[in-house]
Symmetry: C2
Subunit: 271 residues, 2 copies
Amino acid sequence: MPRLKLTLAYVGTTFEGWQSQPGGNTVQDALEAALAKIADEPVRCRSAGRTDAGVHAIGQTAHAGVPGRRRDVDWRLALNSLLPSAISVLEARWVPETFHAQYSALGKTYAYSLWPERSFCLPQRQPFLWKCGPLDLSLLRAAAGELTGRHDFASFMNLGTPVAHTVRDLRSIEVAELPPAAPGLPGEIVLRFTADGFLKQMVRNLVGCLVLAGKGKLSPEDVRMIRMAQNRARAPETAPPQGLCLERVDYGEDGLGQDRRQRVCGPGDDG
Amino acid sequence: MPRLKLTLAYVGTTFEGWQSQPGGNTVQDALEAALAKIADEPVRCRSAGRTDAGVHAIGQTAHAGVPGRRRDVDWRLALNSLLPSAISVLEARWVPETFHAQYSALGKTYAYSLWPERSFCLPQRQPFLWKCGPLDLSLLRAAAGELTGRHDFASFMNLGTPVAHTVRDLRSIEVAELPPAAPGLPGEIVLRFTADGFLKQMVRNLVGCLVLAGKGKLSPEDVRMIRMAQNRARAPETAPPQGLCLERVDYGEDGLGQDRRQRVCGPGDDG
């Protein structure tokens, strides 16, 4: 069956996450309904990872097999005309049947947006950030330095489908302060995480920890101890979902990646 | 009565514009309801300009007189705790009773966001732009050069409350292409208009004209002729409201401006 690779953006606010649910109000359900309408038969799709309820994406990736008789369809155009306005297909391309949105991925990047005020924010940005209050970015950066690298991140994994192991290579945590959107306002703070893969709610758990560090309530040493404990009970609360966005799934220069099935045995993970 | 100057941001999507209406679903109605609740008496406010239904703001400005017994209230905090999530007060400060949000203004800046595709966009940005399709920015810039300066803009004014005259000083039109939000996407195009004031729907009428120029359907010479005709019937259609945002009202360095009542006689204009 011809295989499509789809790059997707969505506003997660009104969805119960990526993964198909009996209620049907998920991104996967909406996408499969549109695919089936064009294919005129049921179509299943698989994504690089299952984002939670309320989490956004500008670079989620999925694959789906579609009937050969629909080879000539402009799938991006057709899907965008059927999908709800909160989901867009940014790219649709044909890939070999060996391509797998999850197993072929070489890495992923999630961004988490923080707002250094508590009482107000730009309403335009309110669905996309966490109003966490003031942060000391030098403290936050020092704590981030204790988290990057190849480590066991069991302290930052919430319970869910069992995974083969909890070691991930957190290649980088970028801390950026954006220019203010209007005079007199502070800038948004973006934490950008790139890794070979993420455990369930790992990014949001890392953010919960880094925000406490940025408030001076955890030292870099505390953060290292939390990571080394390999115990979820030691880490702070999970950050709320709306600040999180799956920015990019990396498949290398040709966009096809390589089959990592031998290495990553768990199901689709999530930020 | 002590006078407050309020700097406001709002998402215009769900409001019937700024100005109070019998139905009550306007930004002014929401703001006056919150002001009255804190003041414990009716409070009226005046804005620098009346934005239309669907138009957004990150720098709208209003003034309101409030009872002296509420001098100690943190008005920004109190208003933000009462306002709907689509409106935020970014700043609240005490100003002399001579300050007037409209008459003291020295100028205004509106931004209009365009998306150079028709079939899709980032859903995160969909409420804030016009999917106008591909544009040649060098053509658009050449046409913009025929519009800046002190001119009679009657060709770009929609009917509404009568104004004393239709001459405005359009100080600049900035054309910027933003960096792409995700790999493979085009960048948004932002047209930023700064003037001493704007006529009713003037910015959206200018945008309607500039987009046709950017598509090669109007030459710079055509655009100049449209302006010089001083006749609304000669100009193209009004651009849709959702791309427009009132970015800033300029009151000079001290934020108080100067009384222009002698010069500008019309009511609050709009972009």
